[in-house]
Amino acid sequence: MTHLDEAPRSEKTEKAVAPAQGREKKLPGRDRLTVIVMVAVPLVLVVLLVWVPALLSVALSFGKWNGFGDLDTIEWVGFQNYQDIFTIYPAFWPAVQHNLIWLGFLFLLPTVLGMLLAVVLDREMRGSRFYQTAFYMPVVLSLALIGFIWQLFYSRDQGLINQVFHSEVDWYGDPDINLWAVLVATAWRHTGYIMLIYLAGLKGVDASLREAAAVDGANEVKTFFQVIFPVMRPINMVVIVIVVIESLRAFDLVWVINKGRNGLEVIGALVAQNVIGEATRYGFGSALAVIMMLISSIFITIYLRTVFREERQR
């Protein structure tokens, strides 16, 4: 927090960094205190509940701890946890595979579909509002609830699918297919979300660009790829990051179905299993958490860079 007092004080830095709005003078003492408190209170909260725990997770991942004793009952084991995860933990590689399937599926179906819907619905079309509402209504529902609702379709004895096809598939229970059943349910929600993002992005496409392309005789497909798609580049970037992070975080649906077992292993659920499951293995769970954190931090960096580049351009 020391920067807070320094930054506006030195004239040199003020000139060096001051963008359009850098016109403030040195604040009187009381106002400076106000500013410090206004930033410090939220900052303390986010640091204590997000950043400190993140670092502690990294530290704990090098130890063995059942979480009951004091901190000095932690037995430090170096990279043992990571080694165990990669070599002997049976659920890990299936979980990685499932997360990757999750990612691939989200990209190929709901994301592409959401984008196409947005492109079509961006047109002057009768009932566009109604269609939009229909597609993004599932977005307001939680994934846990979605898992619940889709049971009406997937239940073995009373589900609609089995009733229509006279089949006896346990869609949520059969480890060979339950992942796909879950993905379809996720897609129901994800499509509308992506559509919404692209609809907003398309509002930024200058209509005259499109008209110019039409005058030049470019057809719809060509216009899309040559005019609209390039303009949406920052949006595409954000969507990629969102889809990756959502796939990595996948948790709610599988947890509400079977706590992430039996064909529905995902990394996020494995972490929880190691903490609130039968065995509390804090070090091991932390190592899993750190793996998640490392993957996500790559994409968080990409995201922040995209956002900040836009920020600076303004």
Binding site: T34, L43, I149, P234, M237
Partner: protein
């Protein structure tokens, strides 16, 4: 997906709230238009179907559907709702959700509006870094922080009038604070961009009048950003209400669970009766659907705040 990833690129927040009047993406040719309409109509009905199906079957007797199958028509009743409500203890869980959601949303908006104000009003060297600290926190997988947070909360004692569990674990306070910490990033980002669209001159004249920084924030800026606050409040209410992960791991007393996490236990209870599942689903969906339909405009503009280039 407990925490919605914030959608935030080049922001023109002010314009996003009141959608710009502009030509839409052009009119389609007649034949293409007809094809597109048919496809859209089919897809839209497909998308509505799960909820409609839940709604229909929530009003049907279990015995009737057992005998005649689900592809029949009839057996109307409201008893599923009564049964689901009492068996699922929804009154209690709804109250819990309310007691968590309202304070969390208010706290989030208040704290993030303060940071946003400082970011928009002053241009310190650390502004971008500060925004990064909040925004990145928003994107971290919550599982990555689970163990330390869980253990920390177990150690922090709370007086009994604040929580009968005697510690942060199993208390609403824990959920309020965790939700707030996570959601601040998105709100700070959106609000600071919105505030940057306010003319800087208002602060100059406020300064001439001798208004303190606090008054500039509370009495000048806050009333002006009301549209953005309304949009964010709508969004946050649905997100916090829908939050599943933290409530599942931090609350182990069944009677303290908010609605969304209570679903986890209900699934076992309602397992054998799909009509009960349907009624339960509708009950849980109703609050967010009401918010959604009543404040649809706010909801959409909130989600897309800052993602249009103007």
């Amino acid at each position: 997906m407990t925490y919605e990833t914030p959608v935030a690129t080049a922001p023109a927040a002010a314009r996003a709230v009141t959608p710009p009047t502009r030509k839409e993406g052009g009119v389609l040719s007649k034949r293409r238009g007809a094809v597109a309409t048919v496809i859209m109509a089919v897809l839209a009905l497909l998308w509505l179907f799960p909820l409609v199906w839940a709604l229909i079957n929530s009003f049907r007797e279990y015995e009737y559907t057992q005998v005649n199958g689900y592809l029949s028509f009839g057996g109307w009743t409201t008893s599923n709702y009564e049964q689901a409500w009492s068996q699922g203890n929804f009154g209690l869980h709804m109250k819990n959700s309310l007691l968590i959601t309202i304070p969390a949303v208010l706290l989030t908006l208040w704290l993030s509006s303060m940071v946003a104000f400082v970011l928009a009003r002053f241009s310190y060297r650390f502004n971008l870094a500060l925004l990064g600290v909040f925004l990145a926190a928003n994107l971290l997988p919550p599982q990555a922080l689970l163990i330390p947070v869980f253990r920390m909360f177990r150690e922090i004692p709370l007086p009994y009038f604040m929580s009968d569990s005697g510690s942060m674990l199993n208390s609403f306070w824990a959920l309020i604070l965790v939700n707030t910490a996570f959601q601040m990033g998105f709100c700070t980002f959106v609000l600071s961009n919105y505030m940057k669209t306010l003319p800087y001159e208002i602060y100059e004249s406020a300064e001439l009048d001798g208004a303190s920084v606090w008054r500039q924030y509370w009495q000048l800026t806050m009333p002006l950003v009301r549209p953005a606050l309304a949009a964010l409040a709508t969004l946050q209410v649905t997100w916090v209400y829908n939050e599943f992960f933290w409530a599942t791991v931090l609350i182990q007393q069944g009677d303290k669970l908010p609605v969304t996490s209570a679903l986890n236990n209900l699934r076992g209870q309602f397992f054998t009766d799909t009509n009960l599942v349907a009624a339960g689903s509708i009950i849980v969906a109703l609050p967010v659907l009401v918010v959604f339909f009543a404040l649809q405009k706010q909801f959409v503009s909130g989600l897309t705040l800052g993602s249009t280039k103007g």
